[in-house]
């Protein structure tokens, strides 16, 4: 996990300040994840032994097997709807995305790979350019698959990075 990026937590996680107090560091969410997405934080920082996700390496596939095994409620055990996973929000960086930088390449990889296609990512600008909506749950599949590393997933309520394209309203169609 880069020290310049705040950690992303598994689906259904409570807000960050509370997460550190509620997580009992049992590792059951890590064991339950069939994609080895959830990782154990090492080191001596205050995040030690907490589960985190690095989408660029291993995105969350929203199978939701981690939430019911959490014994302490750090992950909401009643959460099963992947549209409410609340891992974070993906931000598309205009200065890196093929569709915005000079050249002939048009790319819809993020749209094609999104598990919540047409809800979290839609085709805007006349149905040709992917745009991220507020319904994004931050699974990170787009960040992982983007050939330009033009997408970055950050925790919800974290300020958007410089050059990020604003999210459109959820429920917007192409």
């Amino acid at each position: 996990m880069s020290i310049f990026r705040p950690p992303l937590r598994p689906p259904g996680a409570v807000e960050e300040n509370l997460f550190s107090h509620l997580c009992i560091r049992c590792g059951k969410c890590i064991a339950a994840c069939p994609y080895h997405t959830i990782r154990l934080t090492g080191g001596f920082s205050k995040n030690r032994l907490l589960p985190h996700i690095i989408p660029r390496e291993h995105p969350c596939h929203l199978c939701m097997r981690c939430t019911p095994v959490c014994p302490s409620g750090a992950l909401d055990p009643s959460l099963s709807d992947l549209a409410h996973a609340r891992i974070g929000k993906a931000h598309m960086l205009k200065h890196k995305c093929h569709n915005f930088i000079e050249g002939d390449i048009m790319c819809t990889t993020c749209f094609d790979r999104c598990p919540l296609k047409r809800r979290s990512i839609i085709l805007g600008h006349g149905g040709i350019i992917p745009v991220i909506t507020e319904a994004c749950v931050g699974c990170g599949v787009c960040e992982c698959t983007c050939p330009q590393n033009a997408i970055i997933v950050l925790p919800e309520n974290y300020p958007a990075p410089e050059g990020a394209i604003p999210h459109v309203k959820a429920g917007t169609w192409s």
């Binding site: 300040n17 509370l18 550190s20 107090h21 509620l22 009992i24 560091r25 049992c26 590792g27 059951k28 890590i30 064991a31 339950a32 990782r39 154990l40 090492g42 080191g43 001596f44 205050k46 030690r48 032994l49 095994v69 959490c70 014994p71 302490s72 409620g73 055990p77």
Partner: protein, 296 residues
Amino acid sequence: MKYTIYFFLRRLSQIITLIFFCCLPWLYTKDFNLIRGNLFSLDIINIPFADPANSLQVSIFSLIYGGLPGIKILIGAGLVLLIAFLLGRVFCSFICPYGFFSELIHKKNIVDKPESESKNTFLYKLIIFICILLITGFFSYPLLTIFSMPGSMTTAPFQFWAIADGGIIACIITLIFPIIILVFESYIQKRIWCRFICPQSVMLGLFSKILPSKYLGLRISWNKNACSCKKENPCRNACSLALNPRKLTGPERRDCVLCGDCLKECSKHGRALQLHILPKERINHEDKPMDSPGIR
């Protein structure tokens, strides 16, 4: 003879526990689902068990922030404390990996004369536990996870098996603190962690103590009439926690981990110390312990 069997079973339990937790991450890759977690929170065939000290911390912060603690945490901690209530601190002598290594290191030390029994060991542990909870609350730093030896030692294998993530380094970092304490214990020849510091033993000890001796529960008792030792104290010399077993209700149940060292030693003398579950009637009604100044 029977204490040899008890000791053998106890040692077997410690070794199997250690090997099991080292192999558990590998077992997950083989779809093993019967036992999941670590000694912070463990599910054994869907029956939850939880570290009572960490469960207390989680519960306190859940309530502070307005929610209820997770039900599995409450049940898990409740089961562990129930076991401590009925069987005493068997966790420390049968399961805890730190206790296993601490005991082995202590056995290598030759104790020339026993130290005097410290009366305030529980008080020190309680103060440390409360300080840890307060520091965690004010600074949001999870100090209790570093001070939880069983939990952090059984998390290290998880980190080790994540080799691709540089897990070996993370595993070593997790184990540095227990290793430093073990080396220190070896140097000073005292089991200071289990006696003076361990937060888990605060909770386990409290619930071990509250069972009155006249009720059913695993404990060691001392039969004064059968005790053939006068000035010497072989049972006390044998106790790695510097407890005095020669009291009418046996060694202090709050502090005794039921390792059986005093039983083994006593079986070579008068067999005054006995391990039992059914309550034993008090043989005599005097209040003074054997080695108080009035009786020598």
